[in-house]
Every structure is written in C-alpha cells, then in structure tokens.
Symmetry: C2
Subunit: 201 residues, 2 copies
C-alpha cells in the first residue's frame, strides 16, 4: 500500500488558494447553496464564500452559474447544445428534432440518471422541485421558447417537454411494452408529427 | 381514556374467521404479495394463505384481484370507470375526453398521491416498476386499447398516457409556470386536439 503525502493543510481562516480538493469542496458548497436557495437564489459569490475561496476561482474552475449547476448536479450534457439541436433547422420538422434529441439524451442511462434523481427528489421535497422548476424554465426551456414566435409559446414548449418526459418515464422507468422496446426512430416517427402541432399556430 | 376490549386472539394455526383487524391484515398481506410477485404473479389464494384466511373471505371483503390491488395501494378511483369515461362517446373527441378525464383525476391531490408514491418507488425499485408496469398495461390501458381498431394501438395509447403523465408531473410535481396555473379546460383545449392524432390512422 502506498501513502500519498500531501502538504499540511493551511489552517488560515478566510480565502484560500485552490488545492487538490478545492474543486470537490466547491461542488459540495454548490449543491448546498442550490439546494437551499434554488437555482435563481444561488450565486457564485455565495458558493465561493461557503467554500472559502475567491469567486474568480469558482469561475476559473467551472465557468458560469449554469455550468457550475450542471457540474454540481452531475448532469452530463449541455442544455444549450440540446436546445440548439432542436431549434436549428426548418420549423416544420422541429417536433421531429425535439423528439429525436430528447430520446437520444434520455436513451443514455448515464445522462438520464441525474435527471431521474432530481425528479425523484422533487416528488417529495419542495426545495428539489423548486430547483428543477427554476432550472428547467430559466435554462432549458427558455432557449427554445425565445426562438419561437407563437402565442402561448411557454405553455406549448412545456406541453412538448411534458410529453417527452412522460415518454421517458414510461419507456425507461416503468418500462411498459411495446413502448420500452420500439426503436428511437419508430418513436420519433410517431411522436414527432404529433408534437409538431404545438409548434404551429 | 377508554380502552376497547377485544376477545383474546385465537392462537390456532391455520385458517381463521374474519376478526376486527382481518381486513387490515389482508391488505398488509396483499401489499407484500403484490410487491414480491408483481401484479400478474400475485393471487387471491396466496394472499389468503399469507393472512391465514379463506380465499372466499378475501373475495367477500375486497372482490376481485384488481379491486384488492386498488384497496392495498390505496388508489381511490376505479380504472374501469376512468376508461369508460374516455371510450364512451364519439371517436373524434376521444383525445379531449382522455385529457379531461386524466386531468380531473390527477387534479385531486388525494387521487394522485398514491400514484406518485408508486411512481417514485418505481424510480428506484425494479419490483415497484414491475408492479406499476403490469397494472398499467393489464388493467388501465387494456380497457382503452381493446376498444380501438387501429394499427399499433397499444403503442398509441401508451403515447397518450405518456403525454398526460408528463403533464401531471410538470403541473403538480415540478409546478412549472404557466403550465401549473392554467385551467384544466385551457389544457384540455390545447392538448386534446394534439393527442387526438394518436387515435387517428
């Protein structure tokens, strides 16, 4: 067995420079801050204060608040990239792209696990529900909504996401047949044209 | 404080007649049996054996296996009635009736609580997932599916249920706005015509 030697930890109170476990400590502080204050209420400054580092170090390690949230919640994809895949292309096939992008993301167990964990918490804890609600509406849905010119566009995008979320739960959690076994493309072919209706006036 | 006197409990091994807590004991046995064997594998006979009563007494108290399941899971509505509300009426408004019936059921916190509990368990326990899967497909969806004459009718009904389940989660658990605050009828007006597509060839 080998023992890794580390320099003795500084006992100084206040800000400290990055060390080998600083990154992990920031993530712990971020989870606490997001959990207690929700996505909107949390700030890089407060997370830095909790982990006794300079806010610049948090930015250096993790980038924006959104990127820090994704890292803290272990969400292994970038919402802005998902949104870009959906909105880029002709409007008359946006339903199909939404279904395909969503199914491809949820189809990967590594990508859906952290979302299922957050959703499960949201079912019993209002704080987790608030976090999911704020993050979903401010970060994920907003990027698609802002690209649409339709009445009730928030409600329409929420209806689309509801449908795809429900499909994911029935397909990957409840595993009901035949929904659990058909191919992604068969589902895209069935669901795409239906949710397309939400994108049309 | 008053103390309720009960006759001393018989210690006889084997079947016993119904007593004041027999009903509760059957429900406990039913939850165990359904949990361990799933909906399909559970039987009135085995539940009776677990609670050391005659199967006829289980039927007497609870009726069919389906009715016993509803009682054991504390599901306060009758799936066959829900299905009847959806399938009774013109086929060109079945989407609207499905949305209205589903929203009215989930809109009642007492009615959605046991389903949310089962769904939450299904997210971590495969046995709970199996129970939900079997019950949903054999009992709830089958009643609508059998009334349709369409290709891929199971898959279509599952798509409809997925959508409505997703709406319920976004509306009542995540509580995302504006979805959480619009009226049932506004949602029925938006979702009904969209899911109607699944009922058309």
């Amino acid at each position: 067995m080998s023992v890794t030697r580390r320099p003795a930890r500084r006992r100084r109170v206040g800000r400290r420079p990055g060390g080998p476990d600083t990154r992990g400590e920031i993530l712990v502080a971020a989870r606490t801050e997001f959990g207690e204050r929700g996505y909107d209420g949390a700030s890089i400054r407060a997370i830095a204060a909790r982990s006794r580092v300079d806010p610049a170090l948090v930015h250096h390690y993790f980038g924006t608040k959104e990127q820090l949230f994704l890292a803290a919640m272990e969400i292994p994809f970038v919402p802005s990239e998902i949104a870009a895949q959906i909105v880029t292309g002709p409007i008359d096939s946006i339903g199909e792209r939404a279904a395909r992008t969503f199914l491809a993301t949820w189809g990967d167990p590594v990508k859906r696990a952290p979302f299922l964990a957050l959703l499960r918490s949201a079912m019993t804890h209002e704080t987790a529900a608030a976090l999911l609600r704020q993050f979903a509406s401010r970060v994920m849905l907003a990027r698609v909504v802002e690209r649409l010119e339709l009445p009730d566009r928030e409600l329409r995008v929420e209806a689309v996401v509801s449908h795809l979320l429900g499909v994911a739960i029935m397909r990957y959690v409840v595993k009901i047949e035949p929904l659990a076994s058909v191919s992604d493309e068969e589902l895209v072919g069935m669901i795409g044209p239906v949710i397309q209706r939400y994108f049309e006036d």
